[in-house]
């Protein structure tokens, strides 16, 4: 739905792994670390990271990369901040 972001590789080395700062909010953080840095392979999607931290991707209400909303199928860049929010509504 949203435009796929483009980004420059954060490193020119051949290291296939990268670090992603993952933060969980609301009830997602109950019983799980609210924040953790994960070593992941390049090209990994937000959905795959959600599964890795124990979330049901179907229950994610909002996901953002560095403050910009994104899709679960979107590939995650290195050295970013990835946030998962439960469904929520504004009053």
């Amino acid at each position: 739905m949203f435009q796929t972001r483009s980004w420059m590789p954060c490193s020119t080395s051949f290291d296939p792994t990268m670090a992603v700062d993952v933060e969980l909010f609301g009830q997602f953080s109950v019983g799980r670390p609210a924040r953790q840095v994960l070593e992941v392979t390049q090209g990994i999607t937000a959905k795959e990271i959600a599964l890795r931290v124990g979330l049901n991707p179907d229950e994610v209400g909002l996901v953002s990369i560095d403050g910009v909303l994104c899709e679960m199928e979107e590939a995650v860049p290195g050295d970013c901040r990835l946030c998962f929010f439960p469904p929520m509504t504004g009053g």
Partner: protein
């Protein structure tokens, strides 16, 4: 049902059967209909020809979950246009069970005298209230409970309303400690003060019930509605709204770069973690406060809290997102205790926390205090209660403060302060702020919930989204429902149709309901047109079109032509 007419000049009250023209109206829709039919839209909002209308929603008193909200309407002294503000508490349900479609107060008391309107079964009377004059809203409620009994509901103004300040609100009591239900926006407290009305006291509707035209249809729909609210992942007992309250969204709004910060100069607050719903919950539970309380009996969402200090003493009977944003991050404050203390003062003086937070932000930019300076900000706010010239200016809102101090960054539309979403990073809300007949008001059509359907940073689709949400809000505000209760009626409009048909026997279709909802907006727009509101009033402040907002560098770039076209398909 009857209208309770109140003539403040002659101190006279009488009941009148609801005219046919108002039969299908309730809440916000009824307040707009009465204003357009019975007042001159060009009249002085604080003069005798304005009317203050207090109306439960169409489903008030029926026991439908969240449907007990109370609408209060008048011409706004802040925006110069039509205004409706609604609040929880027990007034909506109680008035409906007393058989009252609305209370309509007109005229003005001749002197500076203040009166209490006491509503009881089949009667109402105006009582001089010299001993309540000058009291804050908390003390006024306690005074009323001593005079009229603990079970009654109290609507009151504080000092701000008595001074007729355009940021003044009306407080509505609820059950137990849930006293902070505020019809906040648009300066309606000033209208109440201008009438010479300090409070409305409503006796319990003991043994009274509203009639149902088709009880089986009604009860089936009501039950399904409550069930669907309970099963909604956002609203049910394991949902964020219940667990963290309205502050559940603080982190997300901050992450989206839309959290008002330091007089709307930034979209994210570096200390927002301490303002999040998660921290609010942890703090309250750690101090033996209460989470998951209700502003209205029978609400299955229960998003409220009782915020307590570090000794366990209640500070405020719910700390909400909009207050956290406007009185917290917008003032550079990151301590919830500080926000709660300022919230209490606003409630007691009878002030809109959104308007007051924005006004204080403007004054800080003018150099009267520093962002993050709780003591300095408190000293400013206390002046409202003292009635000093500066206090009266603060209580008159952000636009007045901006004019007085020559500040250009004033986050208002139609003179009314923006709530807790900077429109540069949530452009759908910007379209609503700019175009709603109510002025800048998130409750008129909040696009935050549609962030997955329409990109909040894009121009595309915002006009259509805002119109859809404004029509929906008109329905919710007119039936008495809480905005949080919208998912089931969005998913199945027939559910609302069945509840209305079960209650009144109208035989409406979904199309009829949609037509009625759109007509409410048309009535409000027509009132504003006659009041002299023009497209030039429906604009986002110029600086928000020019100054990029961190962290996304966003400006509000929805063209004026798009704003002017919002109601083309109404």
């Amino acid at each position: 049902m009857n209208l309770l007419r109140v003539d403040m000049r002659q101190q006279r009250t009488w009941l009148e059967p609801t005219p046919a023209a108002y039969e299908h109206q309730g809440g916000r829709g009824l307040t707009a209909a009465i204003l357009l039919a019975e007042t001159d839209p060009a009249a002085d909002a604080l003069g005798p020809h304005n009317k203050l209308i207090v109306a439960p929603g169409l489903l008030g008193g029926t026991g439908v979950s969240t449907a007990g909200r109370l609408s209060i309407g008048a011409k706004s002294p802040l925006t110069g246009g039509v205004k409706e503000a609604n609040a929880g508490g027990t007034a909506g349900d109680t008035l409906a069970r007393h058989g009252l479609k609305a209370i309509v107060a007109e005229g003005q008391a001749d002197s500076d005298a203040m009166y209490i309107l006491h509503v009881s079964k089949d009667t109402a009377e105006l009582i001089p209230a010299a001993s309540a004059k000058g009291l804050g809203t908390y003390a006024t409620a306690e005074w009323a409970w001593r005079e009229f009994g603990e079970g009654c509901t109290v609507l009151s103004i504080g000092q701000a309303g008595e001074y007729r300040l355009t940021g003044a609100a009306i407080a509505v009591t609820g059950e137990g400690e849930q006293r902070s239900n505020i019809a906040a926006r648009g300066g309606l407290g000033a209208v109440m003060g201008s009438k010479g009305l300090k409070a409305i006291v409503i006796d319990k509707a003991q043994g009274l019930a509203v009639a149902l035209a088709d009880a089986d249809l009604f009860r089936a729909a009501m039950k399904r509605f409550a069930l669907e609210l309970t099963n909604d992942p956002k609203l049910g007992p394991k949902g964020g709204t219940h667990m963290y309250g309205t502050a559940a969204i603080t982190a997300a709004v901050n992450e989206m770069g839309s959290l008002p910060t330091r007089n709307f100069s930034d979209g994210s607050f570096e200390e927002s973690a301490s303002l999040r719903g998660e921290h609010l919950r942890e703090t309250i539970l750690g101090r033996q406060g209460r989470i998951g309380t209700r502003c209205m009996p029978g609400c299955v969402i229960a998003c409220r809290n009782v915020y307590v200090d570090d000794t366990g003493q209640p500070l405020v009977g719910t700390l909400q997102y909009e207050t956290i944003a406007l009185v917290g991050s917008n003032l550079g404050l990151s301590d919830l205790d500080h926000v709660a203390r300022l919230n209490y003062l606003c409630n007691d003086f009878g002030l809109d926390t959104i308007e007051t937070g924005a006004a204080l932000g403007v004054l800080i930019e003018a150099g009267l205090a520093a962002f993050g300076d709780f003591e300095g900000i408190t000293a400013l706010l206390l002046q409202v209660g003292q009635g000093t010239p500066l206090g009266r200016l603060i209580g008159s809102g952000a636009a007045a403060c901006g004019r007085a101090y020559g500040i250009r960054r004033v986050p208002v539309v139609m003179g009314q302060a923006m709530p807790g979403y900077d429109p540069r990073s949530l452009k759908g809300n910007g379209v609503t702020y700019a175009t709603s007949p109510q002025g800048a008001d998130h409750t008129a059509g909040n696009a935050f919930g549609a962030r997955n359907q329409v990109n909040p940073l894009s121009i595309e689709g915002q006009r259509q989204l805002s119109l859809k949400l404004q029509i929906l809000s008109a329905m919710l505000d007119s039936t008495g429902l809480c905005l949080f209760a919208r998912p089931p009626v969005i998913a199945d409009p027939q559910l609302m149709v069945d509840m209305l048909n079960g209650r009144f026997g109208w035989g409406w279709s979904a199309k009829d309901l949609d037509t009625a909802n759109r007509a409410i907006l048309r009535t409000e727009l027509e009132f504003n047109r006659r009041a002299g509101i023009t497209p030039a009033d429906h604009r986002i402040p110029e600086y928000m079109r020019q100054e990029p907002l961190a962290p996304h560098g966003a400006v509000f770039d929805v063209p004026d032509s798009e704003l002017d076209a919002v109601f083309d398909e109404l």
